[in-house]
Every structure is written in C-alpha cells, then in structure tokens.
C-alpha cells in the first residue's frame, strides 16, 4: 500500500487539530459578531441615515458573515502552507487548485 509515513501522519494530525480549533473558535467569534449585529440592529441603531455610511449593525453582521465564509477557505490555505513545508508539493498544488477555483468563483460572482 502507499500510505504516508507515520511521522507525516502524526504531523498532519497535529496540524489538523490546531486547524479544527481555529474553525471552532472562529465560528464562535463570527457568531458573536452576528449576535452584536442583530442586537444593535434592533435596539442600537439610530434612525436610518439616507445615503450615508452603512449602519453599525449592518457592518457587524457583514463581519460575521464574511468571517464564516473565510474560515474554511483559510483552512485550505493553511493546509497548502503545511503541505509546502512538508515538501509535499503535489498536495500543495492540489490545495492551491482548490483555492484558485474558489477565488475564480468569487470573481465570477462579482461580475
């Protein structure tokens, strides 16, 4: 069989553990932004100011949402770096491909 060596797997697993923690706490942080944004939207915002900067509540909500979208992408990016550091260039390239596809998608959506 062709398995990665035990050492490699252990290192990958430890990195994975750290990345999983990043995702969990990141999700909590994003949830926090969402809660603040919602609460502020109900009780904090002043009257709508036509044509000026977006309300604080909207900015909080946007931060939370963007953070949520960014987290899994960040995970893939970090994995790409880990693979590169482990000199596993194939998988670094594969991770890079995933990131590129995602980026292309975002760009296409903005068109």
């Amino acid at each position: 069989m062709n398995m990665p060596s035990d050492d490699e797997r252990r290192r990958l697993l430890r990195t994975e553990g750290i990345l999983a923690g990043l995702l969990r706490y990141g999700a909590l942080g994003a949830a926090g932004w969402l809660v603040v944004g919602m609460a502020w939207g109900f009780w904090g915002d002043g009257p709508p100011s036509a044509g000026r900067a977006p309300a604080f509540s909207d900015r909080c909500l946007a931060t939370g949402i963007v953070l949520l979208i960014a987290l899994p992408v960040l995970r893939v990016a970090l994995m790409a770096i880990v693979f590169t550091m482990e000199k596993d260039y194939r998988f670094a390239a594969i991770s890079g491909t995933v990131l590129t596809i995602i980026a292309v998608g975002f760009l296409l959506g903005a068109l």
């Binding site: 944004g37 946007a62 949520l68």
Partner: protein
C-alpha cells in the same frame, strides 16, 4: 413579509433552531430542513433562502470541526483532493442557479429529500461493507498516497484501508458540490454514499471525511452568493445563529433517544417536505 422585523428574526431563529436540532440528531447539516422552512413557511425567495442556508451550513460545519478522535478518521489528503471536485461543482451550481427556474430548484430539492429519506431507510449509518469487498488498486490513490488507516476503538487497533476509483469519486463530488450550491445543503447525503460505494471507504471514514469537506464546499458557494448580493444578513444571521444552537442541542439530545424511533420520525419529516416541495414546484415555484 417584513424581513427586517424583530418578529421575523425571532421566528426564523426558532425555526432554524428546530432545523439545527434535527440536523444535530441526524448528524447532518441542517440546510435540508432550513431551505424548505424558509421558502414554504416564511415565503423567502429561494435564492435568498439558499444563500442564508449556506451560511448556516458553514457555521454548523465549523462549529463542529473534528474532535481529536475524528481527526484520525478523516482522510485529509483525500478530502482536499475531492474538494477540487466539489468546488468545481459548486461553481457550476451557482452559475446555473442564475438560469434555472425556481420550479426546477424545488423539484431538485424534493428529489434530494427523497434520496435522504431512502438513505435513512437503508440505515446507511450503521452498515459497514468495508470488510470483504474487492478493492482494485487505483493509480491515483497510489501516486497520491491516499490509502490510510483509522483506529477502531472496539478492536483496539488501526484498521488499514485502501482507496479506489478516485476519478469516479471526483465526478460524483462534482455533482454533490453542484447540488450543494444550488440547493443550499451540505450534501453529506450525497457525499457519504459516494465515498462508501464508489471509493469503497469504511463508512466511518466516509462520514468524517464528508463532514470535513462540507465547510469548504459551503464556503465556496456562499462566497459567490454573498458577492452577488444573495445573502441577506437579516435572514442569514438568525438562521446561522439558530442552527448553531440547534445543532449543539441536537447532539446532546442524540444521546438519549432511541435510534429506531428517531429514524422513523425523520423519514416521515423528509417525505412530508419532499411532497410539499414537489407541490410547490408543480404550482409554479416560489
């Protein structure tokens, strides 16, 4: 319906909580319950419903990111490779969602609900055909060193497995990714059987690897929806928060209920939703 109101947010939040609990008990992302709830009950246009649901899929996926135990079950290398397929599919799905009519989306959704009900029925979660199956060598698996092993706590040792038919897996992941971005679901219901039957992975590995991938596919799709303006914060926020809490509660409840009754209940719910979505499709979409 006023999407900005406090009442709306609270109601949506509670509905998402319920959906999250269902999803948490089932071990799947709650998107499959959220989109029907948003569209059928709250009258949200399906594109905004999908956008909001995708955000909650990411939230739940990140929130339940693998524990140390699961880390050994997830085949990370395989997951990243398959993500090439899912993200390409997600891209296609989002591009298509602009041209596909709502009616077709509702039809697709009801089909997925039927498939989910069928999966529950066949008790996929318990069966493990990994043991005696013929596993032909696969060039990609060899070159990329995808074969791996996982610890079995009952037997107290590592069980090695091989991966096969990687290219077929990629194609299936492509469709799973497209379904995910079109319908706002996690697509675990498509990914796990694909990995189980096409790639011949042990079922526990399939589930763990699928969970790993769901967040990335969700992010790829959600990002595009967001950039297009199809994610309305006033809907997405309560949905994400509600389903996060619900998923957390769901996993707690899971410990206490009997599997058979839970499964039966869900088959009924899924079938009911499938029927309702189908009717909506026929009546001309939302």
């Amino acid at each position: 319906m006023n999407f900005d109101g406090f009442t709306f947010s609270m109601l949506v939040g509670m509905a998402s909580l319920a959906a999250g609990v269902l999803g948490g008990i089932l071990g799947m992302a709650s998107g499959i319950f959220i989109v029907p709830a948003l569209t059928l009950v709250f009258g949200v246009p399906i594109r905004y419903a999908v956008g909001a649901s995708l955000i909650s899929v990411i939230a739940c996926s990140c929130g339940s990111a693998a524990s140390a135990m699961e880390n050994r079950l997830t085949n990370v290398r395989l997951a990243i490779l398959l993500e090439v397929g899912t993200t390409l599919g997600a891209l296609t799905g989002v591009l298509l969602s602009g041209v596909i009519s709502s009616s077709v989306l509702y039809l697709l959704f009801s089909a997925i609900l039927l498939v989910s009900a069928q999966q529950m029925f066949k008790k996929r979660w318990e069966g493990d055909r990994g043991g005696g199956r013929e596993i032909p060598p696969d060039r990609w698996a060899d070159v990329l060193r995808l074969d791996s092993s996982y610890p079995d706590p009952r037997l107290g040792r590592e069980i090695a497995y091989r991966v096969t038919r990687v290219r077929l897996g990629l194609v299936l992941m492509y469709f799973a990714g497209a379904a995910s971005s079109l319908l706002g679901i996690g697509s675990g219901v498509l990914k796990v059987p694909a990995m189980d039957s096409a790639l011949r992975l042990p079922i526990k590995v399939s589930s763990a690897t699928s969970n790993f991938m769901i967040g990335v596919t969700g992010a790829a799709s959600a990002g595009i929806y967001y950039v297009r303006g199809d994610v309305l914060p006033q809907i997405a926020a309560p949905v994400a928060l509600g389903s996060l809490c619900g998923a957390y509660l769901g996993t707690k409840i899971l410990m206490r209920t009997s599997n058979e009754r839970v499964r039966g209940l869900f088959i009924v719910v899924l079938l009911a939703l499938a029927g309702k979505m189908f009717l909506t499709a026929i009546q001309g979409g939302g």
